[in-house]
Point group: C2
Chain length 343, copies 2
DNA sequence: TTGAAAGCGCTAACAA
DNA sequence: TTGTTAGCGCTTTCAA
């Protein structure tokens, strides 16, 4: 099972084709300036020998790796249950693949992993980093900054400073959701927040408060983005304010949990209680009972955009940021309210 | 945002510590044979300069990368909805991390990606590969074999040949599930299979048939491992054989879908129809209504074991397999029936 | 125990 | 257009 056959080198190809290493290198890298008959001979030699360039040697001189680290800063087990992560990853992967970049996945389980990640990024294995699912007060951004690696964050970080991030308009989306509920004639609108150590949850809560300026504090319960958390929160809300007539949940998973509790308690949705979620996570949002009205955000698109911004930045090799207008800037993507049966 | 500061090299550290490059290299790599005072001086220089070894240069000479590719051969969107993937990945990541190996993730979206993956593996970027979620007739194993990269598969491949894999005892687990249903006095036991282009689904079906040797073919419907597929299959089963009194679903997600349909059709679980799943995917299996009796497999453990087998193989550098007993061999992990309320 | 020197496989000036 | 040559930063004999 061990690899034993030594791979052919540029040298070997050159010898076989009867040219110099430089010529082979040119052909292999698609730079022009090699006359066709020669190029063809080289290609044939490459083919015959099954030559594949040694990436380490190439990186050593080019200082490029065509690889990007994706750091998933999720110390909780949420990453298991929440398809959000997989979807964003898929978007990132697609975009990186389309530009021939490799994805090096760095999963950080706990704080100990941070040092390892910092070391890895500082080690110059990758050209850049994408950080998703960052939590408030996470030391990761500091480490990354110190490592000096170009980075794009998924979701607004909890500090300011010239970092680039891609996020959805969480606050605006939340406002839309709540306004929709008010438009339905509801007045006692509750909110189940996400985990408040993430800015997305904080921003959605802020959006809720923007509209419900004088909401009873008992109408807001902190959840954790999981279905179980949604159930727990819903129970608490019903206990505190049995007269509530609408719920805005911080994501669809929690909304699904809330729907279960409402059914269990005999409340009809949307007649007694209208429910709006966030994400439009399919197929979940379509399959709840009743199907969920929710705020759509394009999770895969966010992933793709993150990768695109990073790659664009990486391509401007050597050109100082000032010369091209300050580098890439953060993007906040719009959300859309999707009307289904729950509100 | 672009990296501009050149990293310090071994040379720089050597100069600062007043020693040769060789000595620095020895200290950095923890090989003994450097006297303490000198070693200390080197360590200090490393610290002051913030030196981190250049992995490309190191790989060029050692031919090691301390990186492993994880190939997810999932062309469907199932990877989004099914936590199976994330869980196995987490196990792999933990084990690799514990041994200071990096995880390079290769997501293959469609057949076109195969060539890319083959090229990557052949390119000698990684020391080995882990392949999960392989489908029957997938050309990937062939490509990988040609690339000559040590590989461990997650799940039994659909061909024989000296490949190493880690799998659960799908067939045995299925038998346990069906026998449990029979033990409950059920006789008209149906089976919702997984996607039959994966050996895990085939093996579970075989296990079902081992016990239900003369089952009505109408009691078997092909599903696809998704909740929606479970619903569809359950509807079809009820239409075909309204008198069925038990269902063994190929995984918990489908079981959850089946439970929804049973409730919708007014069948009580387990009174009218007993249901058993597969995976013990938490929290799903615990939160269905009623909680799911299911066959547990240790998904994360499988991931960890795959990584361990690969790394063990990798460590035997240069030693021919014959000398150490034929290399690692495949492992089939036992399953456990978990009793909850659904059967 | 330490250092000098060769060379891993490649790219990129520079020359021809 | 093609070839020659000098490294990229590191490990690893081999000598001292």
């Amino acid at each position: 099972m061990n690899e034993t056959v030594p791979r052919p080198t540029l040298e070997a190809v050159a010898a076989r084709a009867g040219v110099s290493r430089a010529t082979v290198s040119r052909v292999v890298n698609g730079s022009d300036g090699v006359r066709e008959p020669l190029a063809e001979r080289v290609r044939q030699a490459v083919e015959e020998l099954g030559y594949v360039p040694n990436q380490a040697a190439r990186s050593l001189v080019t200082k490029r790796h065509d690889a990007v680290a994706v750091v998933v800063a999720e110390p909780e087990t949420r990453v298991f249950a929440d398809p959000f992560f997989a979807r964003q990853l898929r978007g990132i992967s697609k975009e990186l693949t389309a530009h021939d970049n490799q994805l090096v996945l760095l999963l950080t389980e706990d704080r100990d992993d941070h040092a390892r990640v910092g070391r890895y990024l500082a080690g110059g294995h990758v050209d850049g980093a994408l950080v998703i699912s960052l939590h408030i007060d996470d030391p990761l951004p500091g480490l990354i900054q110190r490592a000096g690696v170009p980075t794009v964050f998924g979701g607004r970080p909890d500090f300011n400073g010239g970092v680039v991030y891609v996020d959805s308009d969480n606050r605006g989306g939340a406002r839309d959701a709540v306004r929709h509920l008010l438009g339905l004639g509801r007045s006692r609108v509750a909110h189940i927040t996400g985990a408040l150590d993430q800015t997305s949850a904080v921003d959605r809560l802020d959006g809720f408060r923007d509209v419900m300026t004088d909401a009873d504090p008992r109408l807001v319960v902190e959840g954790d983005f999981t279905p179980a958390g949604g159930e727990r929160a819903m129970r608490e809300l019903l206990d505190r304010r049995p007269d509530l007539d609408a719920v805005f949940a911080g994501n669809d998973l929690m909304a699904a949990g809330a729907l279960r509790v409402l059914r269990e308690r005999g409340r009809r949705v949307p007649d007694d209680v209208a429910v709006v979620g966030f994400d439009d996570m399919l197929p979940i949002a379509e399959q709840t009972e009743p199907p969920l009205t929710t705020v759509r955000q394009d999770i895969e698109g966010m992933g793709r955009l993150m990768a695109r911004l990073l790659l664009r930045d990486l391509d401007r090799t050597g050109v100082p940021d000032e010369a091209v207008g300050g580098g890439p800037s953060s993007v906040v993507l719009p959300t859309t309210l999707i009307h289904r049966a729950s509100a």
